[in-house]
């Protein structure tokens, strides 16, 4: 079984190499990972493309694919990797599966498991090789770095011109590690009002995260505080969701929480069916009372 491992970020490269343990491995690094390629290239024959332009990387990757004829193209889910490999999948009619949580090779076939229906269910599926498999990040323990000499490839042609990158404002909060998370949703009317959530989180020794609209659309929170299947998956002891409706794309990522509390003014909000304890109330009235009660208990 020959695996072509494709990665944009160094850590993803080391995780994907771990996922391809026991296979004959070839590595292709681009973007930030290409810059670090001499620290990784000891693990396998390594190609390095100094570009982050998906079309340019795709065009050089096609040549590598034709030369190496891998049984499996393997990587960790990231946006550019998805972009590039979906084109490879298209041009060669390969099956491609993303957000895979487990896979194994059996008699020339790949059997894998992945979440479906916004992770309200899972599917076990089988495809023949050659195939493309992208596993979720942070499933495989990354290999250690291993210095080596990469083969540098010229980026291929591209019709898309990059006009530049703008770094996102990220806070560095580690919601995955927090014991208490207070989640804020569109039930909050403006950014300043989030101070209610921050005060509650601080009193409980927790962190504040939010739904996708709050973090990605309104930008009231940095994007690394975005909870959901397209953001962070969390499993705190206590998750308090305030003004969040309970969409499957949000709730699937908090199922690992020990206790879930929902505060929502709509008694029919779907979140109450997915929570342990529900409070049907206006957050602007209830949260100040809750904060007052916590302070009283702490004081006594």
């Amino acid at each position: 079984m020959k695996a072509l491992v494709v990665a944009e970020y160094p850590r993803d490269a080391l995780e994907s190499l771990a996922a391809a343990e026991g296979m004959d491995r070839v590595l292709l690094l681009f973007g930030p990972a290409a810059g670090e390629s001499s620290r990784i290239a000891g693990h396998a024959k390594t190609y390095s493309i100094n570009s982050r332009d998906p079309e340019a990387v795709y065009n050089s990757l096609r040549r590598v694919y034709d030369d190496e004829k891998p049984d499996l193209v393997l990587g960790v889910v990231s946006k550019n990797v998805k972009d590039i490999l979906s084109r490879i999948a298209g041009v060669y009619d390969l099956p491609m599966s993303t957000e895979v949580t487990e896979f194994k090779i059996e008699g020339g076939k790949v059997v894998y498991k992945r979440g479906i229906l916004s992770e309200r269910a899972y599917s076990v599926e089988e495809v023949d090789t050659p195939a493309i498999i992208l596993v979720n990040p942070r499933i495989y323990k990354p290999l250690d770095e291993s210095p080596g000499e990469p083969i540098t490839l010229e980026p291929g042609a591209s019709r898309v011109k990059s006009l530049g990158f703008e770094r996102k404002q990220l806070s560095g909060v580690k919601l995955e590690e927090a014991e208490v998370v207070v989640g804020v949703g569109r039930g909050f009317k403006k950014k300043e009002d989030l101070k209610l959530a921050f005060e509650l989180a601080e009193l409980l020794g927790g962190q504040v995260g939010g739904s996708r609209p709050v973090a990605a659309d309104f930008k009231w929170l940095p994007e690394d505080a975005w909870i959901g299947i397209s953001g962070k998956r969390i499993s705190p002891k206590l998750y308090i969701a305030i003004g969040i409706s309970g969409a499957p794309q949000h709730m699937s990522a908090v199922l690992g929480s020990k206790v879930i509390v929902a505060v929502n003014k709509d008694k029919n909000a779907p979140i109450f069916k997915l929570s342990d304890y529900g409070v049907v109330a206006d957050l602007y009235q209830f949260i100040p009372v809750l904060i007052k009660k916590i302070k009283e208990r702490k004081g006594s």
Partner: protein, 266 residues
């Protein structure tokens, strides 16, 4: 400007997951709806058409059967897209193409585009569907048609015959520019889809819809994926609503419970 194609999926609705007593997914009991972010794609197409002209053609391939059971949901999904601004729809639905997979879906879409003689300036899709969430159809279609592809666009415009977009990556936003024709996948943040007006809804039923069967796209058929098992991820939560005669009482009850559960220490 030339035409805009929008790719539309009638997807299984994850808010209505149903399982059989043994925990396996009862897929037949789960209704379909227009996939959420496809609405953003339609809204964006309507915005660009308003600025540049052209016609919006929606293409949808039914991927879950049986057709008899899905017919109504499929029609509703298409109707919604037509009401929101799509000018005409091409629907490929046939029991012999379900269950589909992404290899076949992309091949059918490309076959439809070629056979119908469509020469779009823009093909819009969403970043991911609500049921399969694979985010790969747009890239496949772009590669097959040898068109440039801009994925995860958070903003989009056409200026002097060129597409300018902002791509939403993990840690960065990337501004890009590409010549037409181009394939673009849009994110949920690109716009706020407006609900259609009554007049739009009424007009929708008069817009042209073309139905195709497997026979019309026979060169594109063939799935590569075999589904072995699908099960629901069970959520067992207490679902207890905390009542009380005042918010004070509710807050006290809640804190008592959380202390008893050992998840807060006060």
């Amino acid at each position: 400007m030339g035409d805009i194609i929008v790719l539309l999926k009638a997807a299984l609705n994850p808010e209505m997951v149903r399982s059989k007593p043994d925990g396996s997914l009862d897929q037949d009991a789960i209704p379909l709806k227009l996939s959420d972010i496809d609405r953003n794609a339609v809204e964006e197409a309507a915005k660009l058409k308003g600025k540049l002209g052209g016609k919006i053609i929606g293409i949808t391939v039914l991927t879950v059967g049986p057709l008899a059971r899905r017919e109504k949901d499929l029609r509703m999904a298409v109707q919604e897209a037509l009401a929101k601004g799509v000018d005409e729809a091409i629907i490929v639905a046939d029991d012999s193409i379900t269950p589909g997979d992404q290899v076949q879906t992309a091949n059918i879409i490309v076959e439809v585009i070629k056979k119908s003689g469509l020469k779009p300036d823009l093909i819009l899709a969403s970043e991911a569907t609500i049921d399969e969430t694979t985010g790969q159809i747009a890239g496949r279609v772009a590669a097959k048609l040898d068109m440039p592809y801009i994925s995860f666009a958070r903003s989009l415009d056409v200026v002097d015959g060129k597409v300018v977009a902002e791509r939403d990556l993990e840690e960065d936003l990337e501004k890009v520019e590409a010549p037409l024709p181009v394939v673009v996948s849009v994110t949920q943040e690109i716009n706020q889809p407006r609900p259609p007006t009554l007049i739009q809804i009424r007009r929708a039923s008069r817009k042209p819809q073309k139905r195709l069967t497997a026979q019309d796209v026979k060169d594109a058929l063939g799935v590569r994926r075999r589904i072995l098992e699908r099960r629901i991820i069970s959520v067992k939560r207490k679902q207890e609503i905390i009542d009380g005669s005042s918010l004070e009482e509710i807050a006290d009850k809640l804190l008592d419970i959380l202390e008893r559960e050992g998840v807060v220490k006060l």
